[in-house]
């Protein structure tokens, strides 16, 4: 699950249930606000945290994300309506990604749905959408309870996730199946997550038990807390767009809404899946993208958000987010460009005080590979060229 853009102007963000635990590990003491909750930008150093996530196990406080416990006989129908995730076909223990769309088929947000039992689901969203959810509940036998502030959420990911869980005595937590139960006296729900390309597990437990679980893991000396800056590198390497940064969620004042296809996420809202909100609108928009979100690799040390993107010497868009990627040894960035610009190579304006333009090239990410495979399956033309 991807964090939404930070709310830079928020006053006095609330501490997440895990805040007392993670704050003790923050050497940089660099915090920001996400959805009104505290979130660490950096604990020790971005490079170290990134490396740990790639080769060891990273621990992320996922408290700022919005979480809903969805119960009731029509919970699956409700989630199948609210999101494009295939909630109706999920078996207990399975999770799926999807999108929340508005009636016209534009993306409101990303969504992850996990089925914990026959009539209990967990819905995770980058940001709370209380009104939209309250409206979607009407007329259905379902209760969607916002549990964001009541539970602590700890993301464990990286190649050594299983080791961390075992070290903490959480062997019964599966990396592939969502489940809920009592783990060593603590009521816990666990579900697989993907942060970028990294598989992991999200543990959700009552906020009163936050320190208990945290201590169990930390005492074993495995796992390193990871902040937003390192997660941003993982996100861009995986090619996952960030709400509020790479696209503005539909319905926000002044937002220029984007379709799943325009964000390269058409595989998360297939038109042949059961009905979901906005599918009829999406059908009208399918195959007619106006913009495209491209993952670009730039021959430079730095870039700047908002930098102009050129194709064949014509301005076609702008950079929406960028980082230095240790894996690619280059700047990688998302660019929102005109859908008509079908080239593989672009140029972006250099960051002042430097002048001129920098060469940029599209690269394949996990997300774009999924989109490409989906487009192939659907038999639609794709303009992706390696």
């Amino acid at each position: 699950m991807i964090f939404p853009a930070e709310d830079f102007y928020a006053d006095a963000p609330r501490p997440t249930p895990l805040f007392p635990a993670v704050a003790a590990h923050s050497e940089a003491n660099l915090w920001t606000s996400v959805n009104g909750w505290t979130a660490a930008r950096v604990y020790t150093s971005t490079a170290q945290e990134y490396e740990c996530a790639k080769s060891g196990a990273a621990l992320a406080d996922l408290g700022p994300l919005a979480r809903y416990a969805v119960r009731g006989g029509e919970a699956a129908a409700f989630l199948g309506r609210l999101t494009s995730a295939p909630a109706l076909t999920l078996q207990a223990g399975e999770s799926a990604r999807g999108l929340m769309l508005d009636d016209r088929g534009f993306v409101i947000d990303l969504a992850e749905v996990s089925r914990l039992s026959e009539d209990l689901f967990l819905l995770t969203l980058p940001a709370p959408h209380a009104r939209h959810i309250a409206l979607a509940v009407r007329g259905l036998d379902v209760a969607a309870e916002n549990i964001s502030g009541d539970v602590a959420a700890l993301g464990v990911f990286g190649p050594q996730t299983a080791g961390v869980l075992a070290a903490a005595g959480l062997k019964s937590v599966s990396e592939t199946m969502a489940a809920s139960g009592v783990l060593r006296g603590v009521e816990t729900a666990a579900r697989p997550i993907q942060f970028g390309a990294l598989p992991g597990v999200e543990l959700i437990f009552p906020k009163d038990e936050a320190l208990t679980i945290w201590e169990r893991i930390i005492r074993r000396g495995v796992g390193t807390p990871i902040g937003l800056d390192a997660m941003e590198i993982l996100r861009l390497e995986a090619g996952a767009p960030r709400p509020g940064l790479d696209f503005m969620p539909a319905g926000r004042p002044g937002a220029s809404p984007r379709t799943p296809e325009e964000l390269g996420l058409a595989h998360l809202a297939p038109l042949d899946r059961g009905w979901f909100n906005g599918r009829r609108g999406l059908r009208e928009l399918a195959g007619k993208p106006r913009r495209r979100l491209r993952a670009l690799s730039v021959d430079a040390e730095a870039a700047s958000p908002g930098a102009a993107v050129f194709c064949d010497a014509k301005p076609v868009g702008r950079i929406t987010s960028w980082v230095w990627s240790p894996a690619r040894k280059r700047v990688i960035a998302f660019a929102d460009v005109d859908a008509a610009s079908r080239g593989n190579t672009y140029e972006i304006s250099a960051t002042p005080p430097a002048e001129g333009r920098l060469a940029a090239k599209r690269f394949e990410t996990v997300e774009s590979a999924l989109a490409k495979a989906f487009a192939g399956e659907q038999g639609v033309a794709t303009d992706f060229r390696r």
Partner: protein
């Protein structure tokens, strides 16, 4: 088992699946009958299904007192769609107007009386003494009739802004081609309160009061709110008996329109089934597939037109799991506050003097002072019964020879604004009854002594009689809100083969049938395209 008994057994079989049908129309009101007749005439095998025992929806003939029948629903025709009359040959099917352009007599709180000619273009015939008022009224009516005629497409179902189809494009094109003067006038009229426009034209005079009452009648928006002037434009954009803005009385009342439509449907070989409640509309994929009846049976067809209220059609029959959240929000966010009430009163004796007899051949309107109208809207919105009401009255027994009674008269009254109640108790009904009678006494002193019987009918009674949602016939909000809702419901939630022509698809009140026509034509276009 012989054939007849086998057929009877089949009809009782609750799990019967019936096919071989092209189109199903749900709801046997005027719009349902219109849609079914259009489909039938185009050669589609059409079934019209109504939940109630009678065909005609809320417009029904009912015994309002021993031996006296009255017509529920509407007592005048002001916006009957001329295309429907022509296309369905309603004149051939029996519709006939007893009065085509009713003059109106306005009574004021001050005791003054004014007469307005039934032909609005002849406003100079108004019994005004003051020449400047006469000139101001002529100029005003000229502007208003011209503007409302220009805006007529915007008030037609499917034509409003946001309708998203050919009608909308045509409307946008015509607005784009409007002269600068017309464009400026429309802009002014669109955003203005009715009171602002009328005060600027007529100052504090009786004409302002009169037109404020006309604007407010049946509207959920107070004439002191923005966009309220559009209500008057919408009323004058409509046609009755071929005359713009006229009020007409059909022989037999509004029920004769139902009769003519029913004959048109029967002539088009529509299979009309009353007392057949529908449980749900079948959706398969993104397409409509038919309906499930309350007894468990199914009727399958690739076209379903719902001529019931939107709450019923979308929320109950289709179900929230198949409709977009935005549409559901629009439907559930509506909370009607204002409604009108109908009262049919049987009066003893017949009028002796000529003046009274002449007035009985007219439409009578009691126009309270602007302050009283403002106060009435405030009271009604707060759930209180206002002291003074706008009253529109006609005498069917005087207008229509066929309705004449022996030494008695029927007075049909429409009173507005009243608080909307989903389930009014006896006390509330009594308060409404008293307020209506008190308001009538204001212009017909001593009339209460001649009352032999009376029948009060509230919006919720109309809804209950046709198994509709309680707020289905409450007064509608301002035109802008109506446009937004009508555009949303006419989009039919994007379900292929499903069309909607319930009360929410119509802008404003009155018996129109245009929504049924538009829905049927859209269905036929899609059907022909599919067949091709």
């Amino acid at each position: 088992m012989n054939d007849a008994s086998k057929k009877t057994a089949d009809k009782k079989n609750p799990h019967l699946i019936e096919g071989g049908i092209d189109a199903i129309v749900i709801g046997s009101g005027v719009d349902g009958l219109t849609a079914a007749a259009y489909l039938g005439r185009a050669g589609l095998r059409t079934v019209l299904i109504g939940a109630g025992p009678e065909i005609g929806g809320r417009i029904a003939v009912r015994e309002i007192a021993p031996g006296v029948e009255g017509v529920d629903g509407e007592h005048l025709v002001t916006v009957l769609d001329p295309e429907v009359i022509a296309d369905l040959e309603l004149y051939r099917h029996g519709i006939e107007f007893a009065a085509r352009r009713l003059d109106t007599t306005y009574f004021f709180e001050s005791g003054g009386v004014l007469r307005f000619d039934g032909d609005l273009t002849q406003a100079a015939l108004l019994s005004l003494d003051d020449d400047s008022d006469r000139e101001a009224l002529e100029a005003f009516m000229g502007d208003v009739l011209e503007t409302s005629a220009f805006l007529r497409p915007a008030f037609a179902p499917g034509g409003y802004p946001g309708g998203g189809d050919a009608h909308q494009r045509a409307l946008e094109k015509s607005l784009g081609q409007a002269s600068p003067e017309m464009a400026m006038r429309i802009r002014k009229y669109l955003f203005a309160t009715a009171d602002d426009v009328l005060r600027a034209r007529f100052g504090e005079g009786a004409l302002r009061t009169l037109l404020l009452a006309e604007t407010s009648l049946r509207s959920g928006a107070s004439p002191f709110e923005p966009f309220s002037f559009m209500s008057l434009l919408r009323r004058y954009a409509g046609e009755a008996a071929g005359l713009q803005g006229a009020a007409a009385y059909p022989k037999g009342g509004a029920a004769s329109v139902v009769t003519a439509l029913r004959r048109a449907a029967q002539a088009a070989k529509v299979d009309v089934r009353a007392a057949t409640p529908i449980k749900s509309i079948l959706i398969e994929g993104d397409k409509v597939a038919g309906v499930t009846l309350l007894d468990g049976g199914q009727v399958r067809a690739s076209i379903v037109i719902a001529a019931v209220d939107a709450q019923q059609a979308f929320q109950e029959m289709i179900g929230p799991q198949f409709i977009d959240i935005g549409l559901q929000r629009m439907l559930t966010a509506r909370r009607p506050h204002i409604a009108s009430a109908r009262m049919q009163i049987v009066l003893k004796g017949v009028a002796q003097d000529d003046a009274t007899r002449r007035n009985m051949m007219r439409r009578l309107v009691y126009a309270p002072s602007p302050e009283a109208i403002a106060s009435a809207f405030i009271d009604a919105r707060a759930g209180r019964v206002p002291e003074r009401l706008i009253v529109e009255a006609v005498f069917p027994t005087a207008l229509d020879e066929g309705a004449a009674l022996d030494k008695r008269q029927i007075m049909s009254v429409l009173a507005h604004p009243l608080p909307f109640d989903a389930e009014p108790d006896a006390e509330r009904r009594e308060a409404i009854r008293s307020a209506i009678l008190d308001s009538i006494e204001m212009f017909a002193a001593g009339f209460s002594g001649r009352i032999e019987a009376e029948d009060l009918r509230l919006a919720c009674d109309d809804a209950q009689s046709v198994h509709a949602s309680s707020g289905a016939y409450a007064s509608k909000p301002d035109i802008l809100q109506q446009w937004a809702l009508a555009a949303a419901v006419s989009g039919s939630g994007g379900i292929s083969g499903f069309y909607f022509c319930g009360p929410e698809a119509q802008i404003g009140a009155g018996l129109s049938c245009a929504a049924g026509r538009v829905a049927a034509r859209a269905a036929l276009r899609a059907y022909k395209k599919g067949a091709a």
